[in-house]
């Protein structure tokens, strides 16, 4: 197992972190990271596989021919430094350390005489895991690079005025008459002593309306009212219209919703 005396360096990078106020302008050589900077780096690793990959890729080691002794030694240095600095060390890092140790020791032992049985490189499983992890790590970056709804583009939505579609209940003149009549009935029941006076004025207005209509046969609903005379008169006048209608003397018609309402004498045509 040939191991290089020194691990080749890859492209240096710039200010990564500050150690005691001094900018650290390049990644440490030969897998060694000063303890002060380690905390910074450590957070950046997603676990022991990520750390191992970093060590391997950083030194341009061929993944398929990992120098186990050196890698294990340097990995252990990391773990040791992390422990002495009281960094909370995830159990996975220790498990990986044990695995590295085991692979290393198996490689140091003499090869079994029967290679067919146990001929597999002790590193094979580690390499398989490293490659699979690296694949997924890069795949994650690629997924992140894809344009994403909400982040990189938006769904187009044309505003539709939903309230236009809202259906309102339909009310016609007869409903209105019924409502007024019901009110009138209730008013009669509860305020009996007022009724006589109102009845009189309603009767009076009924006559006025009939008289007003006699000449021309019909009028627009609004024309029958004189707002200037006050609310009480308006109500009485309205009651008069309803009463005349109820007694079949008047006909109230409306062509369609919100069209003008016309009032005419019921027997205008026959007269």
């Amino acid at each position: 197992m040939s191991e290089p005396d020194q691990l080749a360096m890859s492209t240096p990078v710039a200010a990564l972190a500050k150690v005691r106020g001094e900018p650290l302008t390049e990644l440490p050589h030969d897998l060694y990271i000063p303890p002060d900077a380690l905390e910074v780096y450590f957070d950046a690793f997603e676990g022991p596989l990520d750390l191992l990959l970093y060590l391997i890729r950083r030194a341009n080691i061929d993944v398929l021919d990992i120098p186990m002794a050196r890698l294990t030694e340097q990995y252990m240095e990391y773990v040791e430094v992390m422990r002495t600095r009281n960094l909370e060390l995830a159990a996975e890092y220790l498990v990986m350390a044990a695995m590295l140790m085991e692979i290393k020791s198996r490689m140091l032992l003499p090869r079994p005489v029967m290679p067919a049985e146990d001929g597999e490189d002790p590193r094979a499983e580690l390499v398989r895991r490293l490659l699979e992890y690296e694949k997924m790590k890069l795949a994650g970056q690629k997924l992140d690079a894809l344009p994403q709804l909400g982040r990189d583009f938006l769904q187009v939505e044309v505003w539709i005025e939903q309230t236009l579609a809202q259906r309102l209940p339909e009310v016609n003149v007869v409903d209105l008459q019924d409502a007024w009549r019901a009110l009138l009935v209730r008013a009669k029941m509860t305020q009996h002593h007022h009724v006589a006076r109102e009845e009189l004025s309603v009767r009076e207005h009924m006559s006025l309306i009939l008289r007003r209509l006699r000449g021309r046969g019909f009028a627009e609903f609004g024309e029958l009212f004189e707002p200037a005379r006050g609310v009480a008169v308006l109500i009485v006048n309205f009651l008069a219209v309803l009463e005349l209608t109820r007694e079949g003397l008047l006909e109230v018609t409306q062509g369609e919703s919100f069209a003008p309402i016309y009032v005419k004498l019921a027997h205008a045509q026959s007269e």
């Binding site: 200010a15 995830a90 690296e134 344009p147």
Partner: protein
Amino acid sequence: MLSPSEVKVILEAALLAAQEPLPVAELRKMFEDQIDADTLRMLLEELREAWTGRGVELVATASGWRFQTRASLQKFLERVHPERAPRYSRAVLETLAIIAYRQPVTRGDIEGVRGVSVSTEVIRRLEERNWVEAIGHKEVPGHPALYATTKTFLDDLGLRTLEELPPLEDIAKSLDLTQIPTPAPQPAPDESAETAQTSAV
């Protein structure tokens, strides 16, 4: 009988007004299934071409057709609504990649690949986004949930099928894939600084 251009105008209106992707089957209902699916797809393609070069584009995703703004315009649109969508952590992205490329997988499978335990938080974030879901349980002791990606995941990334995911790289061949979170690479310093020292401990 509607002319093709009339049909296209109707499709355009329906897709612009829709709040989510519309599948061809849904679009056919507008024509009381009088137009067959292949014809509709052809007209949708024509409509897509008609919109090229505009601020929005018509795309086909896993759930159907959708109008969306062009990704290249996002930097302008963001100035109107400055709150930026947060990016996912590496833990989330790696977990998502494993589920997307290796589905269906259990949490144990994910941990096996990543070499660290997968926090509930990571899975929950992906589930909240409705990108992954448990689609069943593995018939092994403990009955762990099997996770897979959803249609929404494909829709949100503008993909029609999982086959459109970026291909996995054959990594053993490539070198120097160092991906430590760093600022942009700087000009190389002088070579003397490169003299390697063996471990200092």
